[in-house]
Amino acid sequence: MSGALTRFLDGDVWHCFKRSPLAMASALVAFICVFCAAFAGLVAPHNPTDLASLELADALVPPAWLPEGQAKYLLGTDAQGRDILSALMYGTRISLLVGMASVLVSMVVGVGLGLVAGFVGGRTDAFIMRVCDVMLSFPAILVALLVDGVGRALFPTAHDTLAFVVLIVAISLTGWVQYARTVRGSTLVERNKEYVLAARVIGVTPLRIMRRHVLPNVLGPVTVLATIQVASAILIEATLSFLGVGMPVTSPSLGTLIRVGNDFLLSGEWWITIFPGAVLVMIALSVNLLGDWLRDALNPRLR
C-alpha cells in the first residue's frame, strides 16, 4: 500500500495537481463541504431538525451583516425560525449522500454491464448497446422524472420515506450508460489480445481476466467519469427536489431548500433561497473543476 502511495506521489498526476492552483482550490472547497456535511452534527451552530429548538419569533431574520440581522443566525433564518447556515450543512449532507450513492450504483451497474457486453459479445452485447443508445438519447432529467413519477404512483403513501431510495434509483439509471460503453470498449480491445486467449486456454476464468487486465486499464477514464458525474448527480437531485419530486421538506436537500425559499424571493427575503443556491453551485463547480483537471492530467496526449 505504501508502495502505491509513493508511486502516486512521484507520479505525474500529483505533480500536475501541485502545479495547478485551481485544482488545489477546488479540492479544498470540496473537502470543506464534505467535512461540514459529514460532521454537521458537530459543526453546525443549531440543529434545524430538532423542532423543539425552533423559535417562531426568530422567523425570517436576515443575514447577520444586514441591519436587522442577529449574530446568532449568521445567514438568517427561514419562515419557521430555522438557522439557514445549519440547514445548509444538513442539506449538503443529504445532497452529497444522494449524489455519491447514485454515482456508486451507476458505476457498479455500468462497469458490470460493460464487462459482460464486451466479454460475452454476440447478441448480449448488441442488446446492451442498443439499450445504451436509446437511453443516451433521452436526457437524464427526463429519465429521472419518469422513474420518480412511477415510484410515486406505485407507492403513494410511503413515498416520503422512500424518496431517498427512489431518487438514487432514478439518478443512477441516468448515469450507467457512460461507464458501460467505456468499459465495453476496453474489454473488447483486451479480449482480442493473444494473452487473453492463452489465459482462457489454460483455464483462467473470464472474471479473473477481466479483473486483472481490463479493470486497471479503465480505472482512469472511469474515475474521471465518476467525478464529473457526482457533480451532475447532485445537480439532478437538486433539480428534482426543486421541482417538488425529490427530497421532501422533512429531510431537505439543497434543492428542497431552494424550492421552499423560492416562495419568499419576490417578497424580499432572498437569503432563504440564495444561500443554498450558492453552496450548490460551489460544490458543483469545484467537483467539475476537479473532474476537468483530472481528465487533462490523465490524458497523455495533452502533456
Binding site: 436509446v134 436526457p139 427526463l142 420518480d148 412511477v150 410515486r152
Partner: protein, 327 residues
C-alpha cells in the same frame, strides 16, 4: 441510400414500440386504466361498461395493440388531474414549448459556435480562459438556479422584465403565438436565456474541443506547409471539419432542450408541455405521463433520423461508403 433510410426508419419504429410498451405498462398497471381513460368522476356503471368494452380480460397483446392504435390517433385518455382529454391539453400547450425551445436553440447556436471557435483559436489568451471558466460555471449552475437569479435581478431588483407567464398572445388558427407582440417577446426573454445557457455552454465546449482536435491533424499541418493563409486554414479547412460532428451532436442535444424546458417552464410558470408534465408527475397523473413519454420519444426519434440524414449530406465519405455497399 434508400436502404439506409429504410433501415433507420425500421429502427425508429422499433424504438417507438419499445417506448409505447413502457407507456402502456404505465397506463395499464400503475393505477387503474379505467380511471385513466374516464377520469375520476365516472359512475360505476360507466366503469363497468368500459371494462367490458376494453376487454380487460382479453389477452395482453390485444390490449397492447389497442393502446398503440389509440395512441396513433392521439387518444391517450383523460388527465386525472384536470379531467380533460390529454390530447386537447397537449395541443393547447405545444406552441408555448415549441416557441420557447426554438428561441433558446437559436440563441445557443448563434452565441455558442463563435465563442467556441474563439476559445480554440485564441487558446490560452485571457478572454479564452474567461470563456472557459464561464462555461464551467454554466455547467455547474443548475438551470433552475439560473432562472431564479435572472428573476431576482431583472424582475425583482431592476423590474425590467416580467417573471412569469407568456404575456400577450396572438391566436393564428389555433396556434397561440407570442412572437407578434412586444409583450410576448418580453416574456420570452428570461425563460429563453435560462433555457439557452446550458446548451450554449455545451456547444461552446464542444466546438472548442473539436476545433483543437482538428487543428492537430496532418491535413491542417499540410495546409500550413503549403503556405495557405491562417484565415483559410482556420475558417475554411478547420471550421468545416469541426462543424460536421458538432452539427450532429447539437442535433442530438435538442432533446435535452426539451427536457430542460420542463425546469424552465416550472420556474417561470410558462404554460407549456413541460409544466404539464411536472404537474402530472407530482400528482401521479398517469395518462399525461404516458402520453408525454410517447410524444417525446417521437420527437427524439425524428430528430435522430434527421440528424443521421444530415450527417450524410455533409460528409462525402459516408455517401461513398453507402454507394459502395450498394454495388
Amino acid at each position: 441510400m434508400l436502404a439506409f433510410v429504410l433501415r433507420r426508419l425500421v429502427q425508429a419504429v422499433i424504438v417507438m414500440l419499445a417506448v409505447a410498451f413502457i407507456a402502456f405498462m404505465l397506463f395499464q398497471y400503475v393505477g387503474d386504466p379505467v380511471t385513466n381513460l374516464l377520469g375520476q368522476d365516472a359512475t360505476p356503471a360507466q366503469r363497468e361498461q368500459l371494462r367490458a368494452d376494453l376487454g380487460l380480460d382479453k389477452p395482453f397483446p390485444l390490449q397492447f395493440a389497442r393502446f398503440v392504435g389509440n395512441a396513433l390517433q392521439g387518444e391517450f385518455g383523460m388527465s386525472l388531474r384536470q379531467g380533460r382529454k390529454v390530447s386537447a391539453l397537449f395541443a393547447e400547450r405545444f406552441p408555448a414549448t415549441l416557441e420557447l425551445s426554438l428561441v433558446a436553440a437559436v440563441l445557443a447556436l448563434l452565441l455558442g459556435i463563435p465563442m467556441g471557435v474563439y476559445a480554440a483559436l485564441r487558446r490560452g489568451s485571457f478572454t479564452a480562459q474567461v470563456l472557459m471558466t464561464l462555461s464551467l460555471l454554466g455547467v455547474s449552475l443548475p438551470t433552475f438556479l439560473i432562472g431564479i437569479l435572472l428573476i431576482l435581478v431583472f424582475a425583482v431588483l431592476l423590474q425590467w422584465l416580467p417573471s412569469f407567464g407568456r404575456g400577450e398572445l396572438v391566436d393564428i388558427g389555433g396556434w397561440t403565438t407570442g412572437f407578434f407582440s412586444m409583450d410576448g417577446w418580453k416574456h420570452l426573454v428570461l425563460p429563453a436565456i435560462t433555457l439557452a445557457v446550458f446548451q450554449l455552454t455545451l456547444i461552446m465546449r464542444l466546438v472548442r474541443a473539436e476545433m483543437l482536435e482538428v487543428l492537430r491533424t496532418d491535413f491542417i499541418r499540410f495546409a500550413r506547409a503549403r503556405g495557405l493563409p491562417d484565415r483559410v486554414v482556420y475558417f475554411g479547412h478547420a471550421l468545416k471539419n469541426t462543424l460536421v460532428p458538432v452539427i450532429t451532436i447539437t442535433g442530438l442535444q435538442l432533446g435535452s432542450l426539451i427536457a430542460f424546458s420542463i425546469i424552465t417552464e416550472q420556474v417561470f410558470q410558462w404554460p407549456g408541455m413541460g409544466l404539464l408534465f411536472i404537474q402530472a408527475v407530482t400528482f401521479a397523473d398517469i395518462p399525461v405521463m404516458a402520453a408525454y413519454l410517447c410524444v417525446i420519444a417521437l420527437v427524439f426519434v425524428s430528430i435522430n433520423l434527421v440528424v443521421d440524414l444530415l450527417y450524410f449530406v455533409v460528409d462525402p465519405r459516408l455517401r461513398a461508403e453507402l454507394a459502395g455497399k450498394a454495388h
